[in-house]
Every structure is written in C-alpha cells, then in structure tokens.
C-alpha cells in the first residue's frame, strides 16, 4: 500500500521567477563599483582589474566600498548606493 509523504521543499513561484538583470553596457565614462570584502589583498586585485578596464576604454573611474567584515554581506543601503552610482559592480567571491 502506498504511503503519503511530505515533500520537504517549498514550491515557491516567486523564487522560481528569479531573473538576472540585463548585462551592463560599458562606456568610457562609466564608474565601476568595487566591493572589497576586506580579505588580504582583495582591494589590490579589484583595483588592478578596474585599472585595466579603464585603460581599455571600458570605464572612466572606479570607487571602492570596503566591507567592515568579510563574514557579513554588504548592507542594503550600501548595496543600493553602489547600484545607483555604478555602471558595473565587481567583487570577489570566497577567499
């Protein structure tokens, strides 16, 4: 005889509908936001990438946001400000 079992995962339509933002169009005068997670040399490597993009005419400037703790996600206000100011935001994931 078959038994009825609870499936442990919520079928959430809103979660399934997650879509990515359209790809950013890079311009020579655009600003790149850099999110430095505070880990060793994170800022240096992100700035090196931004410098190369500027040299290649893909951006005009960059601004660095350094998280107060590598373990905590960026705050919602900082997130919104970066999104408003930046053509593109770069960060590193993990270590």
């Amino acid at each position: 005889m078959a038994i009825e079992i609870v499936i442990p995962v919520v079928e959430d339509a809103a979660r399934q509908a997650l879509t990515l933002a359209p790809a950013a169009r890079l311009t020579p005068d655009g600003m790149i936001g850099l999110v430095d997670n505070g880990k060793f040399r994170a800022r240096e490597i992100l700035v090196a990438v931004a410098d190369r993009m500027i040299a290649a005419g893909l951006a005009g400037s960059y601004a660095v946001h350094t998280k107060p703790s590598a373990s905590r996600p960026i705050g919602s206000e900082d997130h919104a400000e970066l999104a408003a100011r930046s053509r593109l935001v770069l960060t590193g994931v993990g270590d």
């Binding site: 079992i5 995962v9 079928e11 959430d12 979660r15 107060p68 373990s71």
Partner: protein
C-alpha cells in the same frame, strides 16, 4: 494553507523508497531519513504549541523562509521525538537573529557548524547528554535535534555542501552539534543564570563554530595550570581569527571544573585569565600569515578573545582531566552568539531577568 501545511505531499511504495528519493534529490545529510508522513509532522508541530503556518524566519539569500510546519518536517526526518521540538524551534529562532549572521555561518569556506549549548531543566527532561561522550554517538536527543537543524538547512534553506555551503572541509559538528550543560559545582551558576535568565528557564546558546579540540592538563592541579593549557589551545596562530578577537566556548570537564571552583575562582576570574593568557604576539601571528590590525596591548600582544567573548560551560564525563575548546569560525565583527529561551507548552518560567554583560546573551 493545504492540509499538510506549506509543503506538498507525494506517494511512495515504502518508507525506504521515500528515503532513497529524498537522498537522490539532495535533501538529506547522506544518512537515511525517517520519511515524514503528514500525521507524524502534525504531531511534531503540535508539540511546540505554535501555529503550523507561523514563519520562524526568513533567509533572503536563497529567497526562502522557514515555517513551524517545515521545521517539524525536518525534525521528523531527523528522528526527533515530539518532546525535542521546542528545543529545535528555539535553535532556529536563535539562528534567524540578525546578530548571528546566518548567511555567513552557512556559506563560509571556513566550514562553521552550529554549536548549541542547552542549559536548564528542559534539557535533562528530554534526555540530552551532558556527560560522557556528549559530542559522540548514542544519545537520541543530542543526535537528532542538531540533525533536524542541518536537514532544514539543506532541504529547507537550500544550503548544501559544494553549493551555497562553501566549506573547504566542514567537520563532524555539521551533522549535529547540540549538547547539554552539567549543572556546575557550587558556588558557580549555570549558563542560563549567568546570561540573565531565571534558574527555572531552559535556554539554548548557539555559536557558528569550528571543530572542537579536546585538551588536557593532568599534572598541574591549579586553576592557573589548567587555564594555561586551555589558553595555549585558544591562541593557536593558524586560525583566521588570530590577533583580531573571536568568541570561544570553553567546556570544562568535571576534574578541571572541580579544581577551579574548589580553589575559589569565579567565572569572571576564569574568563579574565583566559583573555589575558591567550593573547598572541605579532610574531606569532605573522608566522601563520596573519597581520593583526587592532592595536596591541602595552606588552605588544594582540587579543584572541575578550572576557565577554568567552563562555564557560561545565559538561563532559570523567577521565584523565579533559576540557574542550571550541572557537568561533570568524572574528567578532562577523557574527555573534545568540541565546534563546526554549518555550515549552504548559511550562511557565521566570524568563529573561537581565541582559548580562556577555556577547553570548
């Protein structure tokens, strides 16, 4: 809401088939599960006296939330008894406290597990182990309560190893890491009282924690010698908290706790001594590749843990004078321990009386 809470159901030919299917879907910790029938989940959920649809917490990074019904489902899967469920729910509530930084704890490559220390009469009533082998196998409450949390993390929050859980290694505490405090020898107070709760309350204190390290000091016979051994373990340079400050749970075994209490040392004295003697020099840290940024003290040493960031717990079994050092997986700015009262239906307690000067409150 559907008759089975917020979750769908499916028919299987047998419990074994369901367990196999759950494993194939990535909803388990690798061990067989108890297949959750609607009736078993209903009984589990009712043990907390809360509405099944009540949302216990949100987890925005995965766009998930966790209801009482879901938590009950994972508790059934883990093998919990209904009497265990209030402790499960209190643990979830502590985890969703923003101070804990659940996203960081669950995702870090540092491989944190969720250590949970239960204190109070409710822990003994549900049979939690506070003695020999408390972090090992053999006790259903310790084994299944922590497992209910991990199964909920995997299936409910969608956080699985190799995916959102980026643990480089992980450790056995990621299966279960719950244990109970032994009431300390007089005149010490138990954890819940030191953290500001009534003596008749039952609490759970959680920490995002690395693997435990068992240490010994069997020849000194003094508080100073015991604490020196513990401090030596705390200040190991090759951990990413070195020189920056972190949280520690120090579990004193019965021999060590007895010596320290008999010789008149208070909890404050123990924590002050550990904070002072666990400091590291810049050279210690540099040899392990770390470069402390906070200022050193007048002797040029950097903090491993402040007194308020250390929790002393008495537990464990007798032996050759052992204690246990558990460190937080990250620095003090990345997380915070959290304590919650375990609310048991029909049991009135004095609740929280004060907010203690401790990061573990």
């Amino acid at each position: 809401m559907s008759p089975t809470g917020s979750l769908p159901t499916r028919r299987f030919a047998s419990h074994a088939d369901a367990s196999r299917y759950f494993h194939d879907q990535g909803w388990t910790d690798g061990l067989p599960i108890v297949a959750p029938t609607p009736d078993s989940v209903r009984v589990m959920a009712s043990a907390a006296g809360r509405a099944p649809a009540e949302v216990v917490g949100e987890f925005p990074p995965r766009r998930r939330s966790l209801s009482v019904w879901q938590a009950a489902t994972y508790a059934v899967m883990a093998g919990c008894e209904p009497a265990h469920f209030p402790m499960v729910l209190a643990t979830w509530e502590a985890m969703f406290d923003p101070r804990f930084n659940l996203q960081g704890v669950l995702s870090s490559s540092g491989g944190a597990a969720i250590l949970a220390v239960a204190s109070g009469p409710g822990a003994a009533e549900i049979g939690m182990n506070a003695g020999s082998g408390l972090l090992g196998p053999g006790n259903r409450a310790n084994a299944t309560i922590g497992r209910a949390i991990r199964l909920g993390i995997i299936a409910g929050l969608g956080v699985a190893p190799g995916g959102f859980d980026a643990s480089a290694f992980g450790h056995a505490g990621k299966y279960t890491f719950h244990f109970a405090e032994s009431e300390p020898p007089p005149p010490w107070s138990p954890v819940r009282v030191r953290l500001g709760f009534a003596r008749d309350a039952t609490t759970v204190t959680i920490l995002g924690a690395g693997a435990p390290r068992q240490i010994t000091q069997r020849t000194g016979g003094t508080p100073e010698s015991i604490l020196a051994a513990i401090a030596t373990s705390m200040r190991t340079p090759a951990q990413n908290v070195t020189g920056h400050g972190s949280y520690f749970v120090i579990v004193l075994g019965p021999e060590h706790a007895g010596i320290i209490c008999e010789q008149g040392w208070s909890d404050d004295m123990v924590r002050d001594q550990l904070a002072d003697t666990s400091k590291v020099t810049a050279a210690d840290a540099a040899r392990a590749g770390f470069h402390p940024t906070a200022g050193p003290d007048e002797e040029g040493r950097y903090v491993t843990a402040r007194p308020s960031d250390i929790l002393i717990v008495t537990a464990g079994g007798p032996g050759a004078a052992w204690s246990l050092v558990v460190r937080c997986w990250t620095r003090v700015d990345g997380t915070q321990p959290v304590t919650r009262e375990v609310v048991r239906p029909g049991v009135a307690t004095g609740g929280r009386l004060t907010v203690a000067d401790s990061s573990f409150s």
